[in-house]
């Protein structure tokens, strides 16, 4: 009897609530608008999910490991700027790879701060959030770089199989790949162990520091990918491209059902969270609902969902566990004495 473990009630509930959200959006959209329930609407929702989706995907393993990364927005801005600004000197494709490289590099910096210098991830990435945003503006002198070859990245938002676009394919593909990694491979399972119980992971000989460093690099890479995709599809490298996307990304991951305390979560849940939020936004926009009203009910949904989760799940108030990163310094030190 094979079980894709953790497939217990918790996950069922999580998936169920996303379906409820999507169904509600579909019903309400179909009822209020006659052009809502179309394939193009779906295509538009999925397409718009791609960029914030990559950020949210990068955040997922981070949260599973019990860490947090606030710097993803800033990393995305840096990557987006590099992708366009370097085009004239390096060519379009190499510049895009440099964009990804910038993301990875920033992830390495976070990893160093957390793993080597033992700064808790909340504080470390707050600092790199400030530094990254500042660097992007300083390097660019506050001016977005416009691509000299604006048609190069346009294919990313082209129609593909009626409901997809190349960039939404990339996002969905990445989410599926991450799902297989997290649920199906030893390293994925070990990551849950790191986030759920660090002492147990250490005593099982799992290289906890390695995993934590790894997820930060991965998150940097994902933020870089988000930046590259954003930059190419809009032919603009804006130094503030990612600054507004941190909060939506966190919201999507949390609504998806990944726990902030570590040990639980899934990239499919994140995919669902991003799409559900995107659908809600699209529905609101089609109805001309002002952004602040959207903010009001996004906040309500967030609080309501998490309260329901808390009451139904009865996670016995693990507030003391808060973010596990508090324990990183202590635990990893113990495990890694040389």
């Amino acid at each position: 009897m094979m079980r894709l473990n953790i497939g217990t009630i918790g996950n069922v509930v999580v998936r169920y609530r996303l379906l409820v959200m999507l169904a509600a959006v579909a019903v309400f959209g179909g009822w209020t608008l006659d052009d809502f329930l179309t394939l193009t609407t779906l295509q538009s929702i999925l397409d718009r999910a791609a960029v914030v989706g990559f950020l949210a995907l990068g955040l997922t393993p981070i949260l599973i490991a019990g860490q947090i990364d606030l710097s993803i927005g800033s990393i995305m801005s840096l990557a987006a700027y590099a992708t366009i600004a370097l085009q004239p000197d390096l060519g379009n494709v190499p510049a895009a790879f440099i964009g990804l490289g910038v993301g990875i590099l920033a992830g390495v910096v976070n990893a160093l701060a957390v793993v080597v210098f033992k700064v808790t991830s909340l504080v470390a990435t707050l600092a790199t959030l400030l530094i990254g945003a500042s660097l992007a503006l300083l390097i660019s002198n506050g001016q977005p770089a416009s691509s000299a070859d604006p048609l190069f990245g346009l294919f990313l938002t082209d129609n593909f199989l009626a409901i997809l676009t190349p960039r939404s394919v990339l996002f969905i593909g990445a989410a599926l790949l991450m799902f297989v990694w997290l649920k199906g491979t030893p390293s994925g399972r070990n990551l849950y162990a790191v986030g759920s119980s660090m002492p147990a992971a250490i005593s099982a000989g799992i290289n906890v520091n390695g995993y934590i460093a790894g997820v930060f690099v991965l998150s940097g890479f994902c933020a870089g990918a988000a930046g590259v995709i954003q930059a190419l599809s809009s032919a603009t490298g804006s130094p503030i491209a990612g600054s507004v996307l941190l909060i939506p990304a966190i919201t999507a991951v949390v609504i998806g059902g990944t726990r902030l305390e570590g040990g639980r979560g899934s990239s499919l849940a994140t995919l669902g969270g991003v799409v559900a939020l995107g659908a809600l936004t699209t529905l609101s926009e089609y109805n001309g609902v002002p952004s602040y009203t959207q903010a009001v009910y996004t906040g309500l949904i967030l609080i309501l969902l998490i309260t329901l989760d808390r009451i139904a799940g009865g996670d016995e108030g693990k507030t003391t566990r808060t973010l596990r990163s508090a324990a990183v310094a202590k635990q990893t030190q113990q495990g890694g004495t040389s």
Partner: protein, 330 residues
Amino acid sequence: MSLVKSDPNPGPAPAGTLTAGSVLSVLSIPLAIVALMVLGSFVSPSFLTARNLVNILNAYSAVGLAAIGSTFVAVCGGLADLSIPANVAMGALVALGAQTLVGPVAAALLGILVASLGGLVNGVLIGYVRINPIIVTLGSGFLLLGLSQLLVGGGIVYSEPSAFGSFVAGNLLGVPVAVWTFFVVALILHIVLSRTPFGRWNFAVGGNYEASAASAVPVRFTRAAAFVLTGLLSGMCGVLIALSIGQARPIIGAGYEFVAISAVVLGGTSLFGGRGSILRTVGGVIILALISNLIVLIGLPTPSTGLATGTIILLVVAVDAYLRRRTGAE
């Protein structure tokens, strides 16, 4: 009959003994302030003038109030309050918007009250329902900021001229009222945190929630109260700014949550609870104020502030973490 031996595990240097580490960790903030001030006096002859020093404090007094609230939140293990901008906006908008209805003083109090209610929502959900503070304040931030925009629909709310308004915007004995407010509040709340049972409860709850509950500490109340306090202080922050510039907009407190957290962290307070002090947060606020002042005086581009602040946070916290590991504390 003393049969028990002391623990052989590498204990930390007992509190009260002086080690290089403990001295450094106590003096790090004053040292940083002095270093920045020395730098400032080299950079600009006008740095060490009374007016500039007052300006430095004045600039960060209002947001400093939110940082003081955040210290309570951090000490009791509540991580951070991300709804600060929303409560600042609420306080500011109500304080100006209600002036014509109830008069300036009552309006200001009403603004603070409304912001405290925002804090109460956070407090109930975090303290009593026990939901993760980051998620709660993220959600309530959305909610309250959205409501505040709904309230004014995007316009600017102007202040009616009033004696109270000009008093708040003005000086008292040569020092801006905002600065007085910040230091008086800081002093009172320093005493509250370090000398009263409520303060003690915050440390206990942040240090070990279960043990505090088992020691008859009102754990839920304590955590809720920390968030109510932060809401209240955010409201005061909004009121101060609104009255001093004579207008208010919903974006009035944008980014203040990060400023507040930065000040708390710079002060060496752990966001995970059990450790911290208001005086150190005040130090953190002063450091942030000095950085932004120096950036202008040196003539660096404005965005450099983030680079400097972020780097200093990393440095301070990494050194602090290193010292703690060396002395074995934590």
